[in-house]
Every structure is written in structure tokens, then in C-alpha cells.
Amino acid sequence: MPARQQFIILPPRGLQANVVSPTPAAVEQFLTSLEFVRTSGSNRKVLAAARVPSDIRVIDSIHENGAKLVEMSPESVSALRAREPGIRIVPVVHYFPALAPRMAVAKKFKATAASTGTIDIVVASAGDGAPVTRATVVAFTDFDARVGAQAKTNASGVARLALGGSSKKLERLYVYPNGGFWNGFRKNFQIKTGTKVALEPIALDFTDCLRHFYGNSPLTAGSGLTVGVVDTGIEPHPDLVIAGGTNTVPGEDSNDFGDNGEGHGTHCAGIIAARGTPPHGIRGIAPGVKLRSYRVFPEGDGGASNFSIAKALDRAVTDGCDLINMSLGGGPQDEATHSAIAHARANGVLVFVANGNDDRSPVSFPAADSLAMAVSAMGRKGTFPPKTTEVDDVAAPFGKDKKDFVASFSNIGSETDLTGTGVGIISTFPGGYAVMDGTSMACPSAVGAAAKLLSSLPAITSLPRNEARSDAMAKAVLDAAKPRGFGAIFEGQGLLV
């Protein structure tokens, strides 16, 4: 049984209902119920009468209809977020004196006089043996210390690794192609100059994790809804129909909302809305949605600013988006981004955000924002070829179906609302197709599934665009999700299929 923790339960804005802005009646009623529990004692009869989870303990309150300090389990947090989507639930945080961090000393690979030199390995297609160019090869001689060498393959598929000597035992070898192939992975692998690493070409009719759970959706799935992808932009692609968008990077052409070259946004877009048919194309989960692109990452390799992100969210709201995908995050909480998410929510728009890929670290911001829909990543054994990096993503906990697992890279925590398919996902990429992994892929899979569901619920989507609409959409999505058996901090309410 996970340990109980302290949380603060708040209205959507401010510390007390109806002070900063009008509060939905259901939210005010729930906060008042908690006050009743606090003053009457948390016995079973009182909790049941107030329709409050049975393990909740109300410790303190700032007002009858205001913020409450409570103690409960992560399971109850997840259940409460699903039942009362209009409230904010934030973990209690304790601050400590800011001590200077200690510097970590990285171990360098030390070449001796006898071991200078490089090793050339060849990366080639497992299909026709053709060289794979522009693939990133990362070779670890000591994986725990992250020591080794890295290189890109040239026109002949050769990667020159500065490892010293004429042969080397690698603890791990990762090969990341620039689209077209599955990633390569080898463990305890002896290499010498001329060693060949074969990569599996992507077959568009392969049943990856996403297609295992969602198959090939009808082209009408998600129709009537508009989805905005806030990312690196979406590149024109035969499988995608892009209705419009904007570039919110200061100083760049606002009409340039194509991909900035990373391919990340194009991949996310295909997971939601690709309209191809295997084996000649791929199909997303909700190909019937109207797809819009909001580019927040600049040309080159710069990061997305909080201004660009907030402006993109505002524009997506103005453009009539119903759902927004944000496969990005990291860094401290930012009030501008929080305000933009709250603005979207207040205007009937749900913002889905990837949990982050920091190997089971806490849910990153803005996914951790209480008004965002936070998505972790799961995978499934048997939905990726052997000798691919996806093998390395398999980790406990496993689900009720033992083939299901939570990706080793996925961040977790009580803020998690849903899990999504995020290991070994085939999708659209500039110039073709690519396999990618991450909560970045899980997030659009949740968005696609949400769009598919909500397009069948016109009573909700036809509501006026306000907080009640977004709360109703969140509740419908969370109610429809099914736990895979990982536990709430790993999957929230589960997978929406």
C-alpha cells in the first residue's frame, strides 16, 4: 500500500471559491463537504455522507469553501482528480536552504600509449545491407558512469569511435538512425574495425505498441474536434492534413509552422491524426480531427521559451482547439505557462502534457500543473523487434497483463492522470517515418484516444466553451480510462482505449 502523503486541495484559481473568479458550483460544494468532514471528524459515516474518499484525512482549512490541507494515498488522489476534475490537488512542498550543489567528477575514457586510435564500425540495413547514414552511434565502455564515445555515420555508414585500441568490449551500444529504421541496441558487445551493426527497416504494417491497443482507426475517428500540437512544428507529409497553425517564436515568420528539422512535432502529430493506410502509410488514433500546428521551438537547436509556449496556448484557444498536446517540459514551475494552461481550461480546452523522460523522476512541469492532464509512458513486450533500444525500456512494474510495463524512462507521481503508449512508436517524420520513444509519444496517444472518445459525446463538446466544459471533458476521459494494473502513481486512471 503506497504511503499516504499530504496535499492541498484548491479551487481552480486562488485559495477560496468565488474570490479570484467564479467557481463551478460542484467544486465549491466539494470544498464545503471537506470542511464538514474536518469539523465532524473523519469517521466512515461522515465521509460517505460527504462523498469523500474513505482514506482522506482533512487536517486544516483556510475557509469553509477554501483550500484544505489533507492526507491521502496516491490512489485516492488519482480517483479524486477523476471524480472532481475542477479542483486542483498539489503536493505539499517543503523548502530548504539553497546549498551550492557539489560538482560531480565525470570519469573520462583514458587512452594509453598502447591504446590510442579509433574503431570504425559500419551501420547497415538488415534488409538490403545498404549503409545507414547520419545515424548517431553511442558506445559505452562504462554505462553507469556514462563513459565511452559517440559518432555519426558517414555516407558509407561508418561511425568512427575514439575508444582506443583495435577492439573494445562495450557494455552497451545504442544506434539512433535519423528515421527509416528501428534503433539498434547491443549489450556486452565486442567491436573492432569493420564490425557491422544491422538495423531493422520500419515496416508500416508492423504491430507496434500503439497499433496493438488501437489498431487502425476509421478515418472519421475524432471528427468534429480540433487538436493543437504545441511542438517543433508539423512538416507537410502525405499522411497528414494540417488545417493551419502559427509559429510563436519571437523573430521568426509566424507562418512558418512546419517542423524545425527535429521531427518531434511531426511524429506527435502522426500519432494523433495520421490518415495513411498500411503498408503504404500509417494511421493515427483520431485521423478525423482537425490538426493544427503551433511551433514553439526555434530553427536550430534552441529551446522553447515560456513566452512562446504561453502564446501558442493562447492562439490554440482562440483558434478553437478542443485539445492541446504538449510533449515538452522540464525545469521549475513557471507562472506564465501555468496561467496559459489555466486560461485554456477556463475557455473549455484541455491541455495534455508529457510527464517527462528522466528515469522515474517526479512528474516534470508543466505536466505537474494541476490543471494539465499529465501522461506517463507504457510499453508492451512483443511490440518491438529484438536488438532494439526498446528492449532497454522494459522495467517493472508490469501490469495485470505481464507483457505490459511502465517505460523505464517515464517520470511518475501522483500528478499522473493517464498513461499512454510510448515505447517503440512508428509515426510520421520529415521525409518518411521514424520510431520514437518517450512520454512525448505517450501524450499524443492519450490525446488521440481522448479525441476519439469525445467526438462520440456531443452533449459535452457542444457545451459553452468555459470551465464546466473542460471539467466535463476531463471527467469523461478519466472515467473512460482503464487501469492496466501498474498503480496510480505510474498510470493515474490508466490507459484510454
Binding site: 479570484v20 519571437p250 522553447a304 521559451s305 489555466a342
Partner: protein, 78 residues
């Protein structure tokens, strides 16, 4: 000087025009972008602190960035 994001946070209404004018009047202010409810502004820290106090319905935060998510394994920086 630093680059700040100044955003109106009251979702129940539009920002008062006087508020935006107050930002523009800040001695060091150089407006980079303005969407109506949000501005990107180069400001010195004293002006930023003054605006934080005088505009209670706005947030004044430094511009910050996040990289493209990338779960690929990397060598440790040397």
C-alpha cells in the same frame, strides 16, 4: 537587463489598457512582442520588481526555455 514575460492572469476579463501602458512607460522597457494579454519585454531588474508590485493581476517572470525532449542515452559531459 533581462528578458521578461509579463502576463495578465485574470481569465475572467481583458487586461486594462492602463496596465499595458504602465509596462511601456517603464524606463528600461523594450517591447519584443505583445499579444494583448502577454508581453515579452527587455527590462532591467529594478523595473521588473516595480512592475511586479504595481500590477497585481499580472505575473512578471524571466523568460526561460525547455529543450526538445530526448530520451536517448548520452555520454556524460566532460
Amino acid at each position: 537587463m533581462a528578458r521578461y514575460v509579463i502576463r495578465f492572469t485574470d481569465n475572467s476579463g481583458e487586461p486594462p489598457p492602463d496596465d499595458a501602458a504602465r509596462v511601456r512607460r517603464a524606463p528600461s522597457a523594450k517591447i519584443i512582442d505583445d499579444t494583448g494579454r502577454m508581453m515579452l519585454v527587455d527590462l532591467d531588474d529594478d523595473d521588473a520588481r516595480a512592475l511586479t508590485k504595481s500590477l497585481p493581476k499580472w505575473v512578471v517572470v524571466r523568460e526561460s526555455t525547455v529543450p526538445v525532449p530526448d530520451p536517448r542515452k548520452k555520454l556524460r559531459d566532460r
